[in-house]
C-alpha cells in the first residue's frame, strides 16, 4: 500500500515536471520567435517583408550587402553594392560608446571615492542631489543640449552639433549614476586597507590608485560595460544632434535606413540588426549576474 502510494506520487511528480518543461518551451518559442525570424530573414534570398519563417532559398546576399561585397540581384540580374555605410555607423557607435565609457570611469571614480571615504561640508547634500538627479533621463533637456552645442560649435567646431565630440560631451552628464554605483562598492571595502598603506608612507592619492583601484576592477568593468551598452543603445540624443550620414551612430543610421523602405530593405536590415545586437548581447551576458545581485539594479535599462 505504502509502496504503491509512493510510486503514484513519483509518476505524478514526473508528469508535472514534464508539463512544466513543455509549458516553458512553448513560452520560449513565442518569446524567441522574433529573434529566430530575423535570423531566418537575414539568410533568405527574397528578403521581402512578408517572407515565411523557413526560407525557400538560402542566400548570403544580405550579409554581402552589409559588408559591402557586390552580388548579383536574383530577380533583376544586376550587380548590387551597398550605398549605405552601415559598418561605419556601427563603428561610430562603438567609438562614441567606448570613449564615453572610458571618460566616464575616469571622471566618476575619484568622486565616488570622495563620497565614500572623506567627510566634508556639503557631503549629504551632494549625495542627496546625486540620488535625485540620476533618476532624470538626460533627454528631458534635449532642447537645451541642442542649443548649447549649437552655440559651442561656433567657438569649438569639434564639439558642436553633428560631431561625435559634442555627443560624447552630452553623455558625460551621466556621471551621477556611475558615481552612485562605484560609491556603493567602495563603501564595502574596509577602511583599514588604506590606513595601513598610509602608515607605510603612501599619500592619500597613492593609496587610492595603488590599492583601492586595483581592488575595484570588478565594479569598474561593470560600470564601464553598462555605460557602453547604454550609450550604444541610445537613440534620441544622436538623432537630435547628428545630421550628416557619415556621422550617424548605428541606432540613427539603421532607423533611417529601414524607415525609408520597410519592405524593400527588410533582409539587409535583418542582417544589420544581428551584427549590431551580437556584441551588445554578449556584453550583457557577461555582466547580468550583477543585475541579479542588485548591484546595478534600478537605473541601468530599467523597464
Amino acid at each position: 500500500m505504502k509502496e504503491e502510494n509512493f510510486l503514484a506520487h513519483q509518476t505524478h511528480k514526473r508528469i508535472s515536471m514534464l508539463a512544466r518543461h513543455l509549458a516553458l518551451i512553448a513560452f520560449l518559442c513565442v518569446v524567441l520567435f522574433p529573434i529566430l525570424y530575423i535570423v531566418s530573414i537575414s539568410l533568405n534570398a527574397s528578403g521581402a517583408l512578408e517572407t515565411k519563417l523557413i526560407p525557400d532559398q538560402f542566400s548570403l546576399n544580405n550579409w554581402r550587402y552589409l559588408f559591402g561585397i557586390p552580388y548579383k540581384d536574383p530577380s533583376t540580374g544586376k550587380m548590387i553594392t551597398s550605398s549605405f555605410p552601415i559598418l561605419m555607423w556601427l563603428w561610430n557607435s562603438i567609438k562614441v560608446a567606448g570613449i564615453t565609457s572610458a571618460l566616464m570611469l575616469f571622471l566618476s571614480t575619484t568622486s565616488a571615492y570622495a563620497l565614500s571615504r572623506f567627510s566634508f561640508k556639503g557631503k549629504n547634500f551632494s549625495i542627496l542631489s546625486l540620488m535625485v538627479i540620476q533618476m532624470f533621463p538626460n533627454i528631458m533637456s534635449m532642447v537645451a543640449f541642442y542649443l548649447m552645442l549649437d552655440k559651442l560649435g561656433h567657438y569649438i567646431p569639434a564639439l558642436g552639433t553633428d560631431t561625435h565630440g559634442g555627443l560624447i560631451l552630452v553623455y558625460l552628464g551621466g556621471t551621477p549614476f556611475n558615481i552612485w554605483l562605484i560609491k556603493g562598492y567602495f563603501d564595502g571595502l574596509p577602511k583599514s586597507i588604506e590606513e595601513s598603506a598610509r602608515l607605510d608612507g603612501c599619500t592619500h592619492f597613492q593609496a587610492f590608485y595603488k590599492i583601492i583601484l586595483p581592488l575595484s576592477a570588478p565594479i569598474l568593468s561593470v560600470v564601464g560595460l553598462l555605460t557602453f551598452i547604454n550609450t550604444f543603445s541610445d537613440f534620441i540624443l544622436p538623432s537630435i544632434l547628428l545630421k550628416s550620414q557619415d556621422q550617424f551612430t548605428f541606432a540613427v543610421g539603421i532607423q533611417i535606413f529601414i524607415s525609408e523602405a520597410f519592405s524593400g530593405r527588410w533582409g539587409q536590415f535583418a542582417a544589420s540588426c544581428i551584427l549590431g545586437a551580437i556584441p551588445i548581447s554578449a556584453l550583457f551576458y557577461s555582466i547580468h549576474q550583477y543585475i541579479v545581485s542588485g548591484l546595478a539594479a534600478g537605473g541601468s535599462k530599467g523597464s
Binding site: 517583408l49 566618476s108 568622486s111 570622495a114 533618476m135 537645451a144 558615481i179 539603421i254 534600478g298 535599462k301
Partner: protein, 508 residues
C-alpha cells in the same frame, strides 16, 4: 617650505581652470547668455579654490565627477527652465537686435526709380574694382569687393586701362555687389539689380529708438515692438513683421497647457496615456517576470540555468533594434503577424494604424522588452530568501499558499518596490518604446500641435521641438519636459520617504 612638484602642478591646474572658465564666461557675454557668464564665473572661482587650497583634498577628489554633473546635467536643466519661459522656436530664433538688423535690410522701389547701366572693371594688379557708367559719363573710385559700404560715383570716365568683366563674371560677383550701395551725384541710392543695371532702392524701414518701433517709409505705418509676442506689430491691422525675435513670455507656455482649449485637450490626452502606459507597462512586466521567476525557482527543476539564460535574451538586445524589428512584423500589409492571421483565415489587424491596436502593440512590445528585467531581479530576491524561513513556517502549519502569500510576496515586494518605482519613472521617459514603433501615431484628431494617439510626454516634447509641421516650438517643448521633471522628482522623493533612505548610511 620648499614648493614641491605636487604643489606646482596643483596651482597650475587651478590657474588653467580659472582661465578656462573666464573664457567661457566671456563667450557668455558675446552670446548675450548672461546666465552662462554668471555660472561660469562661479564654477571658475570654485575650481580655483578647490585646486589652490592645499587642505581641500576631499573636494579635489570630488571635483571631476561633480564638475561634469554641474555642467552637463544641472546647467542644461536650468537652461531648459529658462527656455520654457521664452517663445524660442520657428520665427523666433533671433535676438531682437538680429531681427531688427535683418528687417532694416529690406528695400523697396520708389515710384519713379533712378537707374544706371554700368560696366565693371577689374584691376588685376591690386584686385580692386571700378564701376563705370559710360552713358552718363560717371565712374566710381577703385574699391574692394565684399564689404558693406557706400560708393560715391563722382569720377569722370577716363581712358580705362583695366580689364572689363563679362556679364557672366559680374554675375559671379553678384552676391558681393548686392551688399553695396552706390550713390549718384543727385544723392539717389542705387543697389545692384542685374548684371548690367543698378536700380534705386530705398531702405523700407527706419528704426525709431524713442518709440521702439519701425517706420515703414513707403506706407507710413508704425510697427511697434511687442515684447510679449516677439514681433514688430502694426497696431490697427495687427500686421506683424517677419522674422520675429525671441522674448520672455513668462508663464505663457505653462498657462497655455491649461487654458488654451485645443492645446489643453491634447496635453491631457497625452499625459493620461503616458501614465496608463507607464503603469500598465510596469504591471504587465512585473506580473510576467515574477510568475516566471517563481515557476523556475525550484531546486529540483532541471535545466533552469538554460531556461533563465534564454528568457533574458530579449533584454540583452538593444531596445531600438527589437522595436524596429517589431515594427516590421506588425506591418499591416506585409508583416508576418498579419500574414499568420490570414493563414488562419482571420482578418488582418491594423496593429499600428488604429489608435486602440496601436496602444496594445506598444504595451505588448514593451512587455517583451521589459519582463526579463523583472524576471532577473525577482529571481535574485527569491534566491536570497533563506530556506529556513519556509521550514519554520511549515512546522508552524502554514500550507503552500499561506507560505507564498505571507512570506514570498511581502519579501519580494519589499525588495522590489523601489525598482518598480524606478521602472515607472523609466517608462515615463521611454522614448524608443513609443517613437520607433508608432512614431506617436496614429495622428490625434483635432490637435493643433503635432500629436498622436500613442504619444507620451517625452515623444510629444521631441515632436514639438524637432518635428512639427508648424515649426519648431522650443519654448513650449521645454515646458512640457519640465512637467516630466516634476513628476520624476516627486516619484524619487516618494521612493526615499517610503523606504526611509538615509544618505549617511545609504548604499547602492
Amino acid at each position: 617650505m620648499k614648493p614641491n612638484m605636487n604643489s606646482i602642478l596643483r596651482v597650475l591646474t587651478a590657474t588653467l581652470l580659472l582661465v578656462f572658465f573666464a573664457l567661457v564666461s566671456y563667450i557668455g557675454v558675446l552670446e548675450q547668455l548672461y546666465f552662462i557668464t554668471i555660472i561660469a564665473l562661479v564654477l571658475g572661482l570654485i575650481s580655483f579654490w578647490v585646486w589652490a587650497k592645499k587642505s581641500a583634498l576631499s573636494y579635489r577628489f570630488l571635483y571631476p565627477g561633480m564638475i561634469c554633473f554641474a555642467v552637463f546635467t544641472i546647467l542644461p536643466i536650468l537652461f531648459s527652465v529658462l527656455i520654457s519661459f521664452t517663445n524660442l522656436g520657428t520665427g523666433h530664433f533671433f535676438s531682437k537686435e538680429e531681427s531688427t538688423k535683418a528687417l532694416l535690410q529690406n528695400t523697396y522701389l520708389p515710384g519713379n526709380p533712378s537707374y544706371l547701366n554700368f560696366e565693371l572693371y577689374h584691376d588685376t594688379d591690386n584686385g580692386q574694382y571700378q564701376l563705370v557708367a559710360p552713358h552718363k559719363n560717371i565712374a566710381s573710385a577703385p574699391f574692394e569687393l565684399g564689404q558693406e559700404s557706400s560708393i560715391v560715383l563722382n569720377q569722370k570716365v577716363e581712358a580705362l586701362t583695366l580689364e572689363k568683366l563679362s556679364l557672366r563674371e559680374v554675375f559671379k560677383n553678384a552676391k558681393e555687389l548686392k551688399k553695396m550701395t552706390f550713390i549718384l551725384p543727385n544723392e539717389a541710392q542705387l543697389k545692384y539689380h542685374r548684371t548690367d543695371m543698378l536700380l534705386e532702392k530705398r531702405a523700407l524701414y527706419r528704426y525709431d529708438k524713442k518709440r521702439d518701433a519701425l517706420f515703414n517709409e513707403r506706407t507710413g505705418q508704425w510697427f511697434k515692438a511687442n515684447s510679449e509676442r516677439g514681433y514688430y506689430i502694426e497696431e490697427k491691422s495687427k500686421e506683424r513683421l517677419l522674422p520675429g525675435y525671441y522674448t520672455i513670455v513668462g508663464l505663457k507656455n505653462y498657462t497655455d497647457v491649461f487654458t488654451n482649449p485645443n492645446f489643453k485637450k491634447t496635453f491631457l490626452k497625452v499625459a493620461g496615456w503616458t501614465f496608463v502606459w507607464a503603469l500598465v507597462g510596469v504591471a504587465l512586466s512585473f506580473s510576467l517576470g515574477i510568475s516566471l521567476a517563481i515557476f523556475l525557482n525550484d531546486k529540483n527543476f532541471k535545466g533552469k540555468i538554460i531556461y533563465r539564460n534564454l528568457l533574458i535574451l530579449p533584454y540583452s538586445i538593444p531596445f531600438f533594434i527589437s522595436v524596429l524589428v517589431f515594427k516590421g512584423m506588425l506591418n499591416k500589409d506585409f508583416g508576418i503577424i498579419n500574414e499568420a492571421l490570414k493563414f488562419l483565415t482571420l482578418s488582418p489587424v491594423p496593429w499600428l494604424e488604429d489608435s486602440f491596436w496601436a496602444k496594445i502593440s506598444c504595451l505588448m512590445v514593451n512587455l517583451w522588452l521589459g519582463f526579463p528585467y523583472m524576471f532577473l531581479v525577482t529571481t535574485g530576491v527569491l534566491q536570497s530568501i533563506p530556506e529556513s524561513v519556509y521550514e519554520a513556517a511549515k512546522i508552524d502549519g502554514a500550507n503552500r499558499w499561506q507560505r507564498f502569500r505571507h512570506i514570498t510576496i511581502p519579501m519580494v515586494l519589499n525588495a522590489i518596490t523601489p525598482l518598480l518605482i524606478g521602472s515607472f519613472a523609466f517608462n515615463l521617459g521611454n522614448f524608443v518604446g513609443i517613437y520607433l514603433l508608432t512614431g506617436g501615431g496614429p495622428t490625434m484628431e483635432g490637435a493643433t500641435t503635432p500629436a498622436g494617439e500613442t504619444d507620451i510626454l517625452i515623444s510629444y516634447t521631441y515632436r514639438l521641438a524637432f518635428e512639427g509641421a508648424g515649426g519648431q516650438l522650443f519654448g513650449m517643448a521645454s515646458s512640457i519636459a519640465l512637467f516630466i521633471f516634476v513628476i520624476i522628482t516627486f516619484l524619487t522623493v516618494l521612493n526615499f520617504k517610503l523606504f526611509n533612505v538615509n544618505p549617511k548610511k545609504a548604499k547602492s
